[in-house]
């Protein structure tokens, strides 16, 4: 019996993990706010924040910081957190460590939904809703296809292949819509929406927090159930989990986060795949710790990437280019490192 006391509980936070999870976002946040075309010292950073919060008069550089850079920084964090958390949730739900919102087709479904809504002339709400709905349709389609295919050959790869297949189909639909769209009005609107990017953000864009916060809270509240679902549907059911209900909640929340990110910043790949693995390397696989860690790392990672995008060249580099340059080699490293391999 004395043995158990010596076995640390992996579900509890360790000091080292907590320090990293607090220090990393704080450091990246301060760097991201202070560097840029108009560098801001840490002193004036705090005085600007203070002035904003207390409603004092601000000078031009302080205004630029609060009205331009701060919203952009916060949106980058929201997008990074959304894509990463939805990636981690999908991985657990589909019992597959190599899926992500983009590989599952949620992103291309969301793009198609947005393009279609713009084509038929919907308003902003209509576009958002259509984007979410088509993302949902694609995820369900991919999951259903996988169910049929994996009856014969069950492998983590079948889900990925189904995802790639459906993604490319929906990307083709997006191209089709672009081809038939009015080149003077609709096409620029579609292109602008799909390309996204954080360069033109204002304080107004931060309204997405009203969608982001409740969705994240719901996912965090049920995160322990993802552990059980990762054991398989039958086992989870026999352990008393209402598998159908949780599957819908998780798919709904994760897809909503994905379509929201697509509407803010366009299709940014790799984040949802790589960040959950990065978080697993630090805190382990238990979703009790994994989901909060993924949230914080995802926010920090995309903020870091967006800061690079602003700083690297005189023109802004699209986010997806940098995430691919970081993500692809990192993922190959993960494949080499994993003991069992990702196949079969």
């Amino acid at each position: 019996m004395g043995n158990t006391a010596a076995q640390p509980n992996n579900a509890r936070w360790r000091l080292r993990e907590l320090i990293l999870l607090i220090a990393i976002p704080v450091i990246v946040f301060i760097i991201a706010l202070s560097v840029g075309r108009y560098p801001v010292s840490i002193d004036s950073l705090f005085s600007a924040l203070q002035a904003h919060l207390s409603g004092q008069e601000m000078d031009a550089s302080q205004l630029a910081l609060i009205r331009v850079r701060l919203p952009r920084v916060l949106l980058a964090m929201i997008v990074g957190a959304s894509l990463s958390v939805s990636g981690a949730a999908f991985q657990g739900l589909f019992k597959n460590p190599v899926v992500s919102p983009d590989l599952l087709g949620a992103s291309s479904g969301a793009s198609f939904g947005a393009a279609l809504a713009i084509l038929i002339g919907s308003g902003l709400i209509g576009i958002q809703f259509s984007s979410f709905a088509m993302g949902l349709v694609v995820v369900i389609l991919v999951a259903t296809m996988n169910k049929f295919v994996s009856k014969r050959a069950n492998s983590v790869l079948t889900l990925i292949l189904c995802g790639i297949l459906v993604s490319s189909l929906f990307n083709a639909f997006v191209s089709l819509i672009k081809a038939v769209a009015d080149t003077d009005t609709k096409l620029p609107a579609i292109t602008f929406w799909l390309m996204g990017g954080l360069s033109a953000t204002t304080l107004d864009d931060l309204k997405v927090v009203f969608l982001f916060v409740p969705t994240i809270i719901l996912l965090l509240a049920i995160r322990w159930k993802i552990n059980l679902l990762a054991m398989g549907d039958e086992e989870a059911h026999m352990l008393g989990v209402n598998t159908r209900l949780y599957r819908w909640i998780i798919i709904g929340c994760a897809t909503l986060l994905t379509s929201m990110s697509v509407s803010i910043s366009g299709n940014v790949g790799w984040v949802g795949l790589v960040v959950p693995h990065l978080a697993r390397m630090l805190v382990g696989s238990n979703y009790i710790k994994l989901l909060p860690a993924t949230l914080i790392f995802g926010a920090s990672f995309l903020l870091f990437v967006d800061t690079l995008a602003r700083m690297l060249f005189t023109v802004e580099v699209p986010l997806s280019i940098i995430t691919a340059i970081i993500g692809a080699p990192f993922f190959f490293y993960l494949m080499l490192r994993s003991k069992k391999g990702f196949g079969a």
Partner: protein
């Protein structure tokens, strides 16, 4: 004696095609009941139907005098613990993370395991003799240890009844014996156990009751000593079989063993 499981005129199978036809049996409190039979006669189908994972074609199943279909999954999990064949999940959860999952029926929908739940998990691990593995990756321990962890998980559900799907599948000789020893211990502690097994020897050794499922909808139930004859076993497995009673040197105990002759 209290009847925990009652199965009446049950037919089950996939898409209305009955594999198991019109079987009736019951399991009383404290019994160890073994389900045996050759491959492909529907043991797993019967088991899945008993667990509510498949709908029966006809007939009734009830647990604790309440029909299976009227249980919600959480309510059922508080009464009956299922021990599946252990498999390797895609993520390296720790052994304790796996075991504490058994507390789910007792945990609120939006909550997580409490310190008390982890204590229960550690108690179950200690009972199964694998408390030293608590913090290790479940994916890295041996097959026998994984199976013991899955049994420990079932124990944390706090049920009287355990349904085990061939707990010694894919285990080597030593691990098979180790798992059976733990199952026997649980039976001595008062658990009622229903399990699928492939070895008649184990039925003689641990079983109070046997359900033998054969080809062409054959179904025999009873006390192993009485119903498991050479003829029945030969018919079930389609090979000549001899039963011998041997006396152990260690404690002069007599046990019946089953020897295939082909």
């Amino acid at each position: 004696m209290e009847t925990l499981i009652k199965v009446e005129h049950l037919s089950c199978g996939y898409s209305q095609k009955a594999i198991v036809n019109d079987v009736s049996f019951s399991v009383q409190a404290g019994e160890v009941a073994c389900l045996i039979g050759p491959n492909g006669v529907g043991k797993t189908t019967l088991f899945k139907t008993m667990l509510g994972l498949l709908n029966p074609i006809s007939g009734q199943i009830s647990y604790f005098d309440k029909p299976l279909h009227s249980y919600a999954s959480k309510e059922f999990a508080k009464k009956v613990a299922y021990v599946p064949q252990s498999h390797v999940p895609p993520f390296p959860f720790s052994v304790r993370d796996i075991v504490v999952m058994g507390r789910n029926p007792h945990i609120n929908e939006l909550s997580q395991p409490s310190a008390e739940d982890y204590e229960k998990a550690d108690e179950a691990l200690t009972l199964m003799g694998i408390s030293h593995l608590a913090a290790q990756d479940y994916t890295e321990v041996s097959g026998g240890e994984r199976q013991l962890a899955i049994i420990a998980r079932a124990l944390t559900q706090d049920t009287k009844l355990l349904l085990m799907d061939e707990p010694t599948a894919y285990l080597d000789f030593g691990n098979t014996s180790r798992v059976h020893q733990e199952v026997e211990k649980l039976s001595d502690m008062g658990y009622t156990i229903v399990m699928i097994t492939h070895q008649p020897d184990h039925v003689f050794r641990y079983g109070d009751k046997v359900f033998a499922l054969g080809r062409d909808s054959k179904f025999v139930e009873g006390v192993p000593e009485e119903v498991l004859s050479e003829e029945l076993l030969t018919e079930l497995y389609n090979i000549p079989i001899e039963l011998k009673t041997v006396q152990l040197r260690e404690d002069n105990r007599s046990i019946k063993v089953c020897i295939p002759l082909s």
